[in-house]
């Protein structure tokens, strides 16, 4: 499998390149951009993960508090009911929120296989501009014919930079 890395000066050029190159059979495309792209990408599943983590943690903490106050260590305080649930809400909320934030942070890392300190694209010196102002497209082709086709399409698009990608 061989590949090529191309850079474009703006998002519109990258979008056009992505659209045209996606028609080349069996080519795998990966974009690297300095900011999130405008077009609506497929929805992330992370919000669902965050919701579940927060809700389950809050419920678990509430359950633990209920167990402690009613069964494990009941305390009569001024004759108040043992299961005085409103006073159990703050810890359940704070704990649930913390679990949700942690799920969002670590979920993001796990979903994207981070930390991922080295990648073949890093070998390209020009690639450093992917976190500045250029929009990069990495194209991986299964054979020489597909690569040649991709290169000929790239030629028409006038990219700022074209480099061979190490395998």
């Amino acid at each position: 499998m061989s590949g090529v890395l191309a850079a474009f000066a703006d998002e519109a050029a990258l979008e056009e390149a992505t659209m045209r190159l996606s028609l080349v059979p069996a080519c795998r495309l990966q974009t690297y951009t300095p900011r999130p792209l405008e077009d609506d990408p497929p929805r992330s599943r992370l919000p669902l993960v965050i919701l579940l983590a927060g809700m389950l943690s809050a419920a678990a903490i509430f359950g633990m508090e209920t167990y402690a106050d009613t069964a494990s260590y009941p305390l009569d305080i001024g004759g108040r009911p043992l299961f005085s649930w409103p006073s159990l809400v703050p810890m359940a909320f704070e704990g649930g929120a913390l679990a949700a934030v942690a799920a969002g942070f670590f979920g993001f890392l796990i979903a994207n296989r981070l930390p991922h300190l080295h990648d073949p694209v890093d070998e390209s010196e020009g690639f450093r501009r992917a976190t500045r102002d250029w929009y990069f497209l990495a194209i991986r082709a299964p054979d020489a014919a597909a690569l040649a086709e991709a290169l000929s399409i790239l030629d028409e698009l006038h990219p700022e930079l074209v480099e061979e990608l190490p395998a």
Binding site: P34, S44, P47, M64, V101, R132
Partner: protein, 445 residues
């Protein structure tokens, strides 16, 4: 309306400018001039804490009836300052205001260190700080549980969750910018440092998709969380039967005050930073204008809370409340009350005038005034309430000791040490969001 960013700037020029600040080989002279006293004060904090752990809380000015002294009021003060940063970074992210972008990193970093300063006080105040872990509900041989029904325990949960969440939220938001730093760095040490911090973020379509979703949801969690944290701090007081505390207005009252001091601190920090770091084209007159208006608004909210506080003293019909209020406005600590009103309510009224809002030294001084004013407000709440208990035979006065003041000065040093390290090492503007802002501006212009 003034632009939020100079139209001459591009994504490339902005990235280079912001990265260059942190990648400089040698720190600015002013950085050292501020860092040396800040680090010295942090050293004083370490000394004060060691002496406290050795000698016990008797070295502080606390004594019956004022058992909550400077430690608790400093805690409340710092956590209030912290909340202003979260308001700007989370609340205003959700309502999609564009002026938030260039100040949110500064505001969030402020939150981080203010919350750290706040977080150490309750532990210092414990008396037996080595047992602080008893606050966690962990299985133990004593078969004991924490008191889940106590506001003081809720407060521990709230601060614990808030500090950790703030760190994660800050770091997630900084990750794409750490990648920019990694790619701009030319020296090996810096490349490794920022490379590790960026964790390999490269801006692939999938990374951005998940990043955006996670960041937005985290912001939506942080916004109510910051309100809950300061409300629970208010409940620490309202839950007690103490004169001057036992009031249902305390949670919103505390949130108003927290937001006011937070905006005050943001203005206090960004006005000098934009000049010292030459960020005038990113932090513009528009930002000062908006923040000054927000400061004025929160000051008016707080004025309402002060009026309600005074009204309640008479509305309850409780003799001890009336005696306490009379003491508050004319007793030994009357100066605290009147200075609180002057600094928090009267001084911010200057910001009604646009000309004054754009006067940087004046706005900076107003920011400083409300920071000091909010400290005095907490002095009034903590100390003045406790010194007039319901039982006249237990009345007494309070004076902070040298070690109280040393701990306060130490946390101020710790805060500025942290902020200066952020200025030195971390991109001080959220660059990836600035790129979006610049792209939007280009499309519209």
């Amino acid at each position: 309306m003034q632009p939020v960013v100079d139209p001459q700037e591009t994504a490339g020029s902005m990235t280079d400018r912001v990265c260059a600040i942190a990648l400089r080989e040698r720190a600015f002279l002013w950085w050292w001039l501020l860092m040396i006293p800040s680090a010295a004060l942090s050293g004083l904090l370490v000394a004060a804490v060691f002496w406290l752990f050795y000698a016990g809380v008797g070295i502080w000015g606390i004594d019956w009836p004022v058992m909550w002294g400077l430690a608790i009021l400093n805690y409340v003060w710092w956590i209030g300052i912290a909340s202003g940063g979260t308001f700007i970074s989370a609340m205003f992210f959700l309502v999609r205001v564009e002026w938030r972008t260039s100040i949110n990193r500064i505001a969030e970093s402020m939150t981080l260190f203010a919350a750290a300063c706040a977080g150490i006080y309750p532990i210092l105040h414990l008396g037996r700080p080595w047992f602080f872990y008893w606050l966690f509900p962990y299985p133990n041989t004593m078969t004991l549980w924490p008191q889940f029904r106590s506001p003081l325990f809720w407060d521990f949960c709230a601060i614990f969750a808030y500090v950790l969440s703030s760190i994660l939220f800050w770091y997630l938001g900084a990750m794409p910018d750490m990648a920019s730093m990694r790619d701009r760095a030319t020296r090996r040490g810096q490349q490794i440092f920022y490379g590790v911090l960026a964790m390999g973020f490269r801006g692939t379509a999938r990374e951005w998709r998940d990043f955006r979703a996670a960041y937005a949801v985290l912001a939506a969690i942080m916004a109510p969380m910051v309100c809950s944290v300061h409300s629970i701090v208010g409940l620490d007081f309202a839950g007690a039967q103490t004169t001057g505390w036992h009031s249902t207005e305390f949670p919103p009252f505390f949130v108003f005050g927290a937001v006011l001091s937070g905006f005050g601190m943001v203005l206090f920090l960004i006005l000098p930073l934009r000049r010292l770091l030459r960020l005038e084209s990113f932090i513009t007159a528009r930002h000062m204008e908006v923040l000054a208006r927000l400061l004025l608004t929160s000051s008016l909210c707080l004025a309402y809370a002060y009026i309600m506080d005074a009204f309640n003293a008479f509305y309850t019909g409780d003799v001890s409340e009336r005696i306490f209020f009379h003491d508050r406005i004319s007793g030994v600590y009357a100066g605290v009350y009147w200075w609180t009103l002057f600094l928090n309510i009267v001084v911010p009224q200057l910001l009604w005038w646009r000309r004054l809002r754009l006067n940087q030294p004046l706005v900076w001084l107003v920011g400083l005034a409300v920071i000091v004013g909010m400290w005095l407000e907490r002095y009034g709440i903590v100390v003045v309430s406790l010194h007039r208990t319901k039982l006249p035979s237990a009345w007494g006065n309070y004076a902070a000791s040298f070690w109280d003041w040393a701990t306060l000065a130490g946390t101020v040093g710790l805060f500025f040490t942290g902020m200066l390290l952020v200025v030195r090492l971390v991109p001080i503007l959220s660059m990836f969001e600035m790129r979006e802002l610049l792209a939007n501006a280009r499309r519209q212009g």
